[in-house]
Symmetry: C3
Subunit: 470 residues, 3 copies
């Protein structure tokens, strides 16, 4: 007999004396609207508002949390249908789905399992757990659900209670999809300005992008000055489209400005295709400082996601491209790296910076001490591998005592997996409820304060963190 | 109606089965006398024994835990009355106090909140919680308390049950205040020898201090030999005044000796005002080794507090001076850094070294393995940002299994905030009681052993760690 | 009256609601056979199968967990009978035993205490706890037990339920002891191939070992090619003797291959006694890559134990030799270090690598993300200082959410202390039971899944991890 799928009402709440308190706290936040102010859902989804495809292409293929776990146990990327750069793809959706279902036990103890159970049961209304035996039945059931109009992206926005959702968009995106959405749903789906591909001068194709940037902005990017001007223009275009923030993925948090002439020299060398790796790294750090300077002017909130070595496996990258779950964290450093930026903008009125990490060692050592004194800083929610029950609990335990609650950003879901968004917010609210309940039963926090803090963590802090300050 | 201020009798004790055990353990240690063998209260306080001033200047302005949190949420240092180096100060004490009270929610979940609640309720006898509404009432109530004779510093020493309290004093301090106190309270308030300003050759004003050192010691500090001799003499003067220990704040734990000639060369270059940053750093590491050598001779316990980047924000430093809460930790390293020192003195009979850190990653990786084998080492209590409920719990969890209890130092309060001392010791005793109770209910420790260990952690280990061994 | 020795049936299980679940889970795994696939018991023990000597030489002198703690509190290595390299040893076994017993309190809260209590009570049948008063009585009681035939090594193999035990053997070991054992107990005691002494070219005596290797393998190790060939041959000899794995202790995890000519040049320089430290380090990293290449061919599982600075105290090393508890961890790095190796072999079918660490900071930052995507990787059990109740709990909490359960290796006891083996496995099973029970009562894992995972962690994963894959 197949196993029933029944997410427990108390899942991820603490046991013992704290449970009752945690239940009450969670009950007070679970129905709050969702602010999704940092994520990676494709804007085209909401622009087209078409029915989703099959279960595999919705729930397996694009979710690198899921595919990386299957790959780690010997399932080849091809059997999971990861599209090769050469355009070939051999696996059929139903075969992919069977692979996933027959390896369901691999996800025991992982956040993917919570999210998926929540999606299966509460979003898709399934009642049996995935397994080799139930794979086909589930495939058919989900497929038929996805054809119903209430499973279209815009309908789900409402059903999920999403007040605002932010996408992440290349600085060279023309924002056409956003324009289309805004016509129907003004202010509901907003872009985020991501200039990464433009500030890393040694990435293949950079000079084409610089040209594209110039065209879009109506500026001449054949000079460094023009390039800066073009970035400024694009930021204004994003602001006009509703953007509240920028996003920056750098290998390190280094943010040391260069002399203008030196920056211009490196920029020129890149245009000639001759930039060195060291110069490119220095320029990236310089541009992080410049982005802070622009944020201090135009009020876009600066989000920094450093410390990940992208495309760890060159063969996977060569065959399947980037973002296939083969990005691996390295040790992070913020205290020295951010010092020049904070020296200049740490107390600047119009400036807000949100720091993320995938290296937990900096929570108590660097991030909480920094956010606990610089008014411009907020600590972002536990990111990526750390967006998990124990990961979120450790975040609170390691930062609250130094930074308090009010120097944190509130939850951000940071996902491409649209159907997982309610599950992710709900899990975060459960973990925060449990953390607060523990403080209450240990008489470290009054219960009335706990309720207020829970509201703030679930909703208000995201709202106040992601506010344009200019 | 204002909220009542009622620190719960079980605060910071674990919930569930362990609570009853933790209560019993805490009851057995809560009234033990306080040994305050590392701290920063000003000796002049006890020499003059005058009434404290107003609530703001007692409880807000000098407490950088408090001011940094308020600054992090946009309250300017000026509104908090931080004295500018140019002598100006605009905010009135009552205004400062109002700022503090109206931001009381920022401290939820932080140790400052525990300490202050304890001080308010148990030391000052207040009954309502701070808030914008209660600020004036509390200000007046505290002000009138502070005029009573039982709130004078020496009276509080008795009331707090402080057996001995150690100040921290520059090596160039003439110890006049201590002489004055010793006449009335022999052995009760003792100095600690802190030579930091003398061993960091590139700090502004160093050569004046070297001159001052020579005068005080009656030695000629125009040579490196005379400088070493003068330090030796000052250590003797501190010993005569009751000192048990020295204290050293270095950016890194590096303790590599230089050849005598090389040290002399660097010293001479510093006297000429020409020392390089690299030479100054090497000299600081050399002097840490020399201080260990002197400790091995004269028996002063060497305390090392490394790993903090001081004055992270140069503008704050330029305006308000050092120690304004803008010191931020960096990654620490002990295994390689201390090796030369431990190779020479790690097994030396007369030598005792207490290691502190603000980087938790070294607890299980380096500190516990080192203290678990070198007889000269003890692990200091969780320091600064880590002197907090969860911080102290993690310390025990991360070091005990490798270093045991008896290679730790017992609690040190390490504070300038005199009124917070009982609160800090009490909180540490509660957390240790909770940790031990958890071991008891998990059948990892017998209850009779837990009581003995609790006594040792609360009192005996501080006494035996801070004993001059020569 | 002496204190009774009564390990509690629920020891190291969680308190509260999770206890009952943990008991049930532990009951289901506690009697499973032991797979001891990485350890350091001497093969000669099983070859000779003679009675153990006295209590001190069995339980104190060779256990560096025990001696390091005693040394840390001022007991000299000589009083503990650590054999000096010059052959002298002054302390009598009974005196050593008395030192140990009178310092029994030092082990409170450490895993040594659990293991020893388990050994005393459940293996040796003692009923009173060690103390200065009971030392002689215990000494006599243990001594008489050890003369009984059921306390011979082979008898204990049966009594302990050890299905297979692996020793660790130098690549230059002739495996004569294993041949002797295999005649009586085929497949029960197997060797592990450890080439460390041969790949670190700057260690004293290296060239003699290289010569010895050549003799054993019938290859000419005066050339780099011959050296590689000899290693290949010895691996085959180990495979013939039942080996499943190799073991590698390196200071760093660096595994960057050199050009063949460069490797040959360094090898030749070492033969001339002229290798530089930098060249030796590069060669060690190169050889780690080569060992992976050989593993990918012959299927031996590659175990890596990096990140330990050996012989931290040169004086102890000079007097007593290596492995005296003076090895101290340093910060570890895997993401960049292993990249060249994983690029080449991370997805190779026949290749399996098990990663260990004594630096917990890499659990969630590097190890779980790596093992959660590369099919060749498994995460080894918490090693050395981390093989402890809280250490094992933190391992599960920090790796499971990213790597799941099925990218971990199962428990390895990794000990020279034969009598402690059942205690170590039992403690690991208790901690895993507690971790799983906590997930169950927090509704993060179904109880039926918890039972299956517990079986896998206790037995199946060790079996499947340590399987030759060629």
């Amino acid at each position: 007999m197949p196993k029933a799928l029944q997410p427990h009402p108390d899942r991820a709440l603490p046991a013992g004396e704290a449970r009752e308190v945690a239940r009450r706290i969670h009950a007070s936040t679970r129905s709050l609207p969702l602010l999704c102010l940092h994520g990676h859902v494709d804007a085209a989804l909401f622009a087209a508002d078409e029915a989703f495809g099959n279960p595999a292409d919705l729930l397996v293929v694009p979710d690198h949390y899921v595919t990386r776990m299957l790959v780690s146990q010997g399932v080849s990327p091809d059997r999971l249908g990861l599209p090769r750069l050469d355009g070939t793809r051999t696996a059929e959706p139903r075969e992919i789905w069977r692979e996933f279902c027959s390896h369901w036990h691999l996800f025991l103890g992982t956040p993917s399992r919570y999210w998926l159970e929540h999606e299966f049961a509460e979003v898709l209304g399934l009642t049996v757990a995935p397994s080799a035996e139930t794979a086909d039945e589930l495939y058919d059931e989900i497929s038929s659900r996805l054809k119903e109009p209430e499973f279209r992206p815009r309908a789900l926005l409402d059903r999920f209670g999403i007040e605002v959702i932010s996408t992440t968009d290349a600085a060279t995106d023309d924002l056409a999809q956003h324009a289309k959405i805004a016509a129907d749903l003004p202010g509901r789906v907003i872009p985020t300005f991501r200039p990464d591909a433009l500030v890393h001068l040694d990435r293949p194709g950079w000079s084409d992008l610089a040209g594209r940037l110039g065209e879009l902005a109506g500026a001449d990017t054949s000079s460094y000055e023009g390039y800066l001007e073009a970035l400024r223009q694009r930021r204004q275009a994003f602001i006009a489209a509703g953007a509240l923030a920028t996003d920056h993925g750098h290998l390190s948090a280094a943010a040391t400005p260069l002399e203008h002439g030196e920056a211009a020299r490196i920029y020129a060398s890149a245009l000639r295709g001759e930039v060195s790796a060291a110069d490119a790294a220095a320029f990236a750090g310089h541009m992080l400082f410049q982005m802070a300077a622009m944020s201090a002017e135009d009020g876009l909130v600066l989000q920094l996601h450093p410390g990940v070595l992208r495309d760890h496996d060159p063969a996977i990258h060569a065959t399947y491209g980037p973002d296939q779950g083969h990005d691996i964290p390295v040790a992070a450093e913020f205290t020295r790296s951010l010092r020049p930026l904070l020296e200049r903008f740490g107390h600047a009125e119009g400036f807000r910076m949100v720091l993320f990490t995938v290296d937990e060692t900096v929570y108590s050592r660097e991030l909480a001490p920094l956010a606990g004194v610089y008014p411009s800083l907020r600590l972002g929610a536990p990111w990526w591998f750390l967006d998990s029950p124990d990961g979120m609990r450790r975040f609170r335990e390691l930062v609250t005592e130094t930074a308090g609650f009010y120097n944190t950003s509130g939850f951000v879901d940071d996902t491409r997996a649209f159907l997982s968004i309610p599950a992710r917010h709900d899990l975060a609210r459960r973990i925060d409820a449990g953390y607060l309940a523990k403080l209450v039963v240990e008489h470290r926090l009054d219960e009335d304060d706990a309720f207020q803090v829970a509201q703030d963590l679930a909703y208000n802090l995201a709202a106040t963190t992601y506010t344009r300050r200019s």
